[in-house]
Amino acid sequence: MSFLEIFAFLLDGFKISLLIFAVTLLCGAPLGLPIAFCSMSRFKPIRFITKVFVWIIRGVPLMLQIFIIYYVPSLLFGLDIWKRVNLYFTTGNQLSYAGSVIAVLIAFIINYACYFSEIYRGGIESISKGQYEAGYVLGLSKNQVFKNIVLKQVIKRIVPPMSNEIITLIKDTALANCIMVGEIIYKANVLAADKALIWPLFFTGVFYLVFVGLLTIVLGKVEKNLNYFRS
């Protein structure tokens, strides 16, 4: 295999890594918001349940969560949903991993939503009560205060911790290979097993480095563009 062929083979895998990254971010970031509000709810049972849920999700390895979502439906309830989806999308003689990807996505979205929710909570609680009171004194409604005063500051404050999570996310996608999803490190392992080539395994690092480099630049720009309170 030439270098270009190997590059293309690994790139195929990195596309799956990027897919997991993008879908998790797009679904997990909004989902974190309701979880954050529930964990700050004035209604005690909701607050308690949410906190326990976040504790479990943050307290258990993501790899185990993937195993649970992938294996438990068929082991406990006889629901072979992932196998069916895998079969449905199979075209050649190798089983597709479409269903396995969905299982991974569910695990990732729930996991990251919980982490994001804690970042949101931290951001929202960092705004002092005085600012709300000042808003009410000026005759603004609850929604107006949140939208115009609180949220703008919160967004600005959570960008650095969010950047951290986002960068961790792209590297966490490698966990998908524990249920044989064809992300980039899995692909590199196939090359090692099938073609007796070891270097592609280490070369995968280049893909991550380039992508994280791009992310760093983009997130840095975002941070800069949010300096609306400086005058």
Binding site: Y88, F89, N93, Q94, L95, A98, I102, L105, M180, A196
Partner: protein, 260 residues
């Protein structure tokens, strides 16, 4: 991009899937990458002796067949949970697992269709020549494989486990293990290939003859059907043809009469 789209659509079409599955039975065969039994050609298509034999057998039974890569130590879980219908991947049948239970007690085996041995692979300059040289050395074998059982028969070795046989080669190559215990078939095709050019087999330490068979869930009705097809394909020369194609003609079994 098309593939990505397909996967995204998968989520939406899960419901459609339940309604739309075809009536023709699909058999899922579990494998690990293993040249010359199950491996990829230049175009990324899965080929190999086991692959083509499985396709021939299930083709005759009018079933669709797809292959699922598994982790070898999970083979019993995968069989029992119904994720795969059989393990057809150079599955040594006449041995016991690490827990001392014979494999034949855990799964139903088809007829033996190939001879195999466990061989010891080392670096060419390792100086390992006899069983005594293995003392205190780190030995690697696939977790849950016949190789693991064989490795542990040598006294004084330190055992290290791997997810698949080819990972053991990587361990020896990188010095994380001193020797690997692998199937003869696999060792022959990998030693000297690509990055494994400096690995070699210690012929003096090979095991007695073992046999490969196809493993099914206990009580599966597929076993008898597959056996009948193996017999037919042995008679009409298909097995011989495939064996020649993949260079395993000295070990492949074509006459199953004495196994009935």
């Amino acid at each position: 991009m098309k593939k990505l789209l397909a996967i995204i659509l998968a989520a939406l079409m899960m419901v459609a899937c339940f309604a739309g599955c075809s009536k023709q039975e699909t058999i899922v065969v579990g494998y690990t990458i293993y040249d010359p039994m199950n491996y990829l050609d230049e175009n990324g298509k899965l080929i190999g002796f086991d692959t083509e034999l499985a396709e021939a057998v299930f083709g005759n039974l009018d079933c669709k067949v797809v292959f699922k890569e598994i982790k070898w130590e999970n083979k019993y879980t995968e069989l029992n949970s119904g994720d795969i219908d059989c393990v057809w991947n150079g599955f040594t049948c006449n041995t016991a697992d690490d827990d001392g239970v014979a494999r034949a007690d855990k799964v139903d085996f088809s007829y033996n269709y190939m001879e195999n041995r466990q061989v010891i692979v080392v670096k060419k300059d390792s100086g390992i020549k006899s069983a005594a040289d293995l003392k205190g050395k780190i030995g690697d074998a696939e977790k849950g494989s016949a190789g693991e059982t064989y490795a542990k028969k040598f006294e004084g070795i330190v055992f290290k486990g791997a997810i698949k046989q080819t990972d053991c080669l990587l361990s020896v190559k990188t010095g994380n293990a001193d020797f690997a215990v692998l199937d003869a078939q696999l060792a022959k095709s990998y030693c000297g290939k690509g990055d494994y050019a400096d690995l070699t087999i210690v012929d003096a330490l090979s095991s007695e003859v073992e046999y490969y068979a196809i493993g099914f869930k206990k009580g599966s009705d597929l076993t008898a059907k597959v056996n009948a097809q193996l017999e037919a394909l042995g008679k009409d020369g298909t097995i011989t043809k495939l064996a020649k194609k993949y260079g395993v003609e000295t070990t492949a079994i074509t006459d199953f009469a004495d196994q009935k």
